[in-house]
């Protein structure tokens, strides 16, 4: 996982509630046992007017100029709800999305984001609406700049601060592998496990 300090670029408004992981990557677009090759299926049912022939639907935001180059998504409530498929995160990243700003996130999806270095930021809906307004005025120039060191978002000379759990922030900034991080405590796990199984032998 690459360490992240900041993200900047074009932000695409996708202001819908309950965008589920089936919509982000339909099950039938997950064809291989791999984290790769998923970008083509991202938002397949919304992005293509014919999924089979891969004909882009020009009405879908990520097909419009300049949003084909988006690195940030601005969205509503409960983004990433539904299935736990981590392929949703892998597909978004492979397509080019590096951060998502939403009112709230599905909890499994949120964890999957952090584990893969996709920054997910929670903000109030009216602040997101303000960002969307700025972006829509001039999408090519009104980039969003996210500073993970300061926990701030800058757009059109405005600066907004956000909260993120310190553990999630440090995972993203350090880009650490969590298995290695946990294995620092291997001795503690071993002794906990021995006691735990002694007290409850049916485990």
């Amino acid at each position: 996982m690459k360490p992240i300090n900041s993200i900047t670029g074009i932000a695409a408004p996708l202001l819908r509630n309950n965008v589920d992981t089936d919509a982000i990557i339909p099950s039938r677009e997950i064809k291989k046992i791999s984290k790769l090759g998923l970008a083509d299926g991202l938002f397949a049912e919304w992005r293509y007017s014919s999924v089979q022939n891969r004909i882009p639907d020009q009405n879908f935001i990520l097909n419009k100029d300049p949003f084909q180059k988006s690195v940030i998504l601005l969205t509503g409530e409960n983004f990433g709800c539904g299935s736990s498929r981590e392929h949703a995160v892998w597909a978004l990243q492979e397509w080019g999305i590096k951060a998502i700003i939403g009112k709230s996130f599905g909890s499994i999806f949120y964890n999957n984001c952090i584990r893969n270095g996709l920054l997910a930021i929670t903000l109030e809906e009216k602040i997101i609406s303000g960002l969307i307004k700025n972006v829509e005025e001039n999408p090519s120039d009104n980039h969003i700049f996210i500073d993970l060191i300061k926990c701030s978002i800058q757009c059109c000379d405005k600066e907004i601060f956000f909260d993120i759990h310190e553990k999630d922030r440090s995972l993203l900034i350090e880009g650490l592998d969590e298995i290695e991080k946990v294995l620092i405590y291997k001795n503690n796990i071993d002794s906990f496990e021995a006691d735990h199984k002694k007290i409850r032998p049916w485990l």
């Binding site: 202001l15 819908r16 509630n17 309950n18 589920d20 089936d22 919509a23 339909p26 099950s27 039938r28 997950i30 064809k31 291989k32 046992i33 791999s34 984290k35 049912e45 999924v51 509503g76 409530e77 409960n78 709800c81 539904g82 299935s83 736990s84 498929r85 981590e86 995160v89 709230s104 599905g106 909890s107 499994i108 949120y110 964890n111 999957n112 584990r115 893969n116 809906e125 759990h165 310190e166 553990k167 969590e178 298995i179 991080k181 946990v182 294995l183 405590y185 291997k186 503690n188 796990i189 906990f192 496990e193 735990h196 409850r200 032998p201 049916w202 485990l203």
Partner: protein
């Protein structure tokens, strides 16, 4: 200050507490399936990391495998067989407990796990599948994770996690024959929203829960994730202990007394604190069916689809408008009497023996309406066998239902079988998302009783009407 049941189980599993508020939590059980488990095991293998405790890991084949009788590794889904073969070879290599195709234990993970005694009260349990929360019905602290978190747990038997808040949902009132666990949970989600729990642990309690059977509790907890919860949990009681006795992976005879003694202590304290308490009066709950594309888009069949101008929030209004367009419905209309193309009974939500029994009681000596494609997919090979021993298969088949092998089947469209373009399906599943069951398929979530009654009428129908009318 008192603690909730959830907190007590959590605290018992803390290996290490960190200054930033996170805990290193010990994970007792890990369950896998071919869709997301295959990649977790493969990634670990590629990194040369072994599964830490293979005996604590279980795997089944449920997601992609066909459910048509006579099935094998070949799937209607292109490349589906690769997932099955990959899980099988990884399971053998890692020496984990594996319920392969054509073994009596095979079935949907969340159905198999309770019936084999794998999920137990007071355990921590994860699976890379969002409906893992089902198992809270047994007093298990169970939740869905992604493949990467699953890899961490497979390698270390732990996860770093912050303890979420707890919400209490009390369900009290008169238990009515016509109201199922599915109706109650759809009522809850429609009133409080698809993110009503916002990542909290939801504890269900109240006299209605006390009276519910284990399988109904599994249905209720199953849809906690559709309520935005990390998990759902129910205080384990004598019914749970009785249910678990003698099951293959449950405590052995020499351990059972000690285990039950411990399980009896798994209760929330009277002064436990919850971030929110929701009271549901069961007398207010009717027959619930969804009209839109989120589980929160559900109504009592006696009511009308809401008018858009009743919705204040602009984003919610826009979502409802899009949902109505997708579903081919209008604001203010009733769902009752809406013609259906298909009826589906199956999925980890409603495919257990009690679900099939209630559907069969409605289908007995009746026929599915002309033109309705009706499918029943038992949740596990054991459920299928038990149902056949009771003769339920004959009732389903003579009514005109297809009787399938167990698996997740058409709860979702993975590239193999699906419902048709814009077909209207009444379904005992858990998600009515756009294109979930097929291209442009219009899914109406409902209880097995409502699905069975609707299949016979050919239109969305009350289970009770049917009993009186026909």
């Amino acid at each position: 200050m008192g603690r909730t049941l959830f907190e007590k189980i959590w605290d018992k599993h803390v290996v290490e507490s960190f200054d930033d508020g996170n805990d290193l939590i010990y994970i007792d059980r890990i369950f896998l399936h071919e869709r997301t488990g295959s990649i977790a095991l493969q990634n670990l293998h590629d990194r040369n990391i072994a599964v830490r405790n293979p005996k604590q890991v279980f795997a089944t084949i449920d997601h992609i495998v066909d459910t048509i009788p006579g099935r094998d590794d070949e799937t209607l889904m292109p490349s589906g067989k690769e997932f099955i073969k990959s899980l099988r070879s990884s399971a053998i290599r890692e020496n984990i407990n594996f319920f392969d195709l054509n073994t009596p234990e095979q079935g949907i993970g969340h159905v198999v796990s309770p019936e084999q005694g794998i999920a137990l009260p007071g355990l921590t349990y994860i699976c890379p599948d969002s409906h893992t929360c089902s198992l809270g019905a047994l007093g298990t602290l169970a939740w869905g994770v992604g493949s990467s978190e699953c890899e961490i747990a497979l390698a270390t038997n732990t996860l770093i996690k912050k303890k979420p808040k707890s919400i209490k949902v009390n369900v009290n009132g008169n238990v009515n024959d016509q109201v199922s666990a599915k109706d109650i949970v759809l009522y809850l989600i429609s009133n409080y929203g698809a993110n009503g729990a916002d990542g909290s642990a939801v504890e269900f309690g109240g006299n209605v829960i006390d009276q519910m059977g284990i399988e109904a509790r599994l249905t209720l907890c199953n849809m906690s994730v559709e309520f935005g919860a990390m998990t759902g949990i129910i205080q384990p009681d004598e019914k749970v202990f009785e249910y678990l006795r003698g099951k293959k992976y449950a405590p052995t005879l020499d351990q059972i007394q000690e285990a039950e003694k411990y399980w009896r202590k798994l209760k929330s304290d009277k002064d436990a604190e919850y971030s929110e308490i929701i009271d549901i009066d069961c007398d207010q709950v009717g027959t619930f069916v969804t009209w839109g594309t989120s589980p929160e888009h559900a109504i009592d069949l006696n009511e009308k689809i809401p008018s858009l101008n009743e919705i204040d929030d602009e984003t919610k209004k826009d979502s409802a408008k899009k949902a109505l367009e997708y579903m081919g419905l209008n604001e203010g209309e009733t769902l009752m009497g809406k013609k259906i193309d298909a009826a589906f009974i199956g999925s980890c939500t409603n495919s257990r023996l009690s679900d099939l029994r209630i559907a069969a009681s409605i289908l007995k000596d009746k026929k599915v309406s002309n033109g309705v494609k009706a499918i029943c997919v038992p949740g596990s090979s054991k459920v299928k066998k038990d149902a056949e021993n009771e003769g339920l298969d004959e009732i389903f088949i003579s009514a005109g239902f297809e009787w399938r092998e167990s698996g997740c089947s058409m709860c979702f469209y993975a590239g193999g079988e699906s419902f048709g373009l814009s077909e209207r399906v009444i379904s005992s599943t858990n998600r009515n998302f756009e294109n979930r069951q097929g291209k442009s398929t219009r899914t109406h979530l409902a209880s097995p009783a409502t699905v069975a009654a609707s299949a016979i009428k050919g239109t969305i129908a009350f289970p009770k009407d049917l009993k009186e009318d026909l």
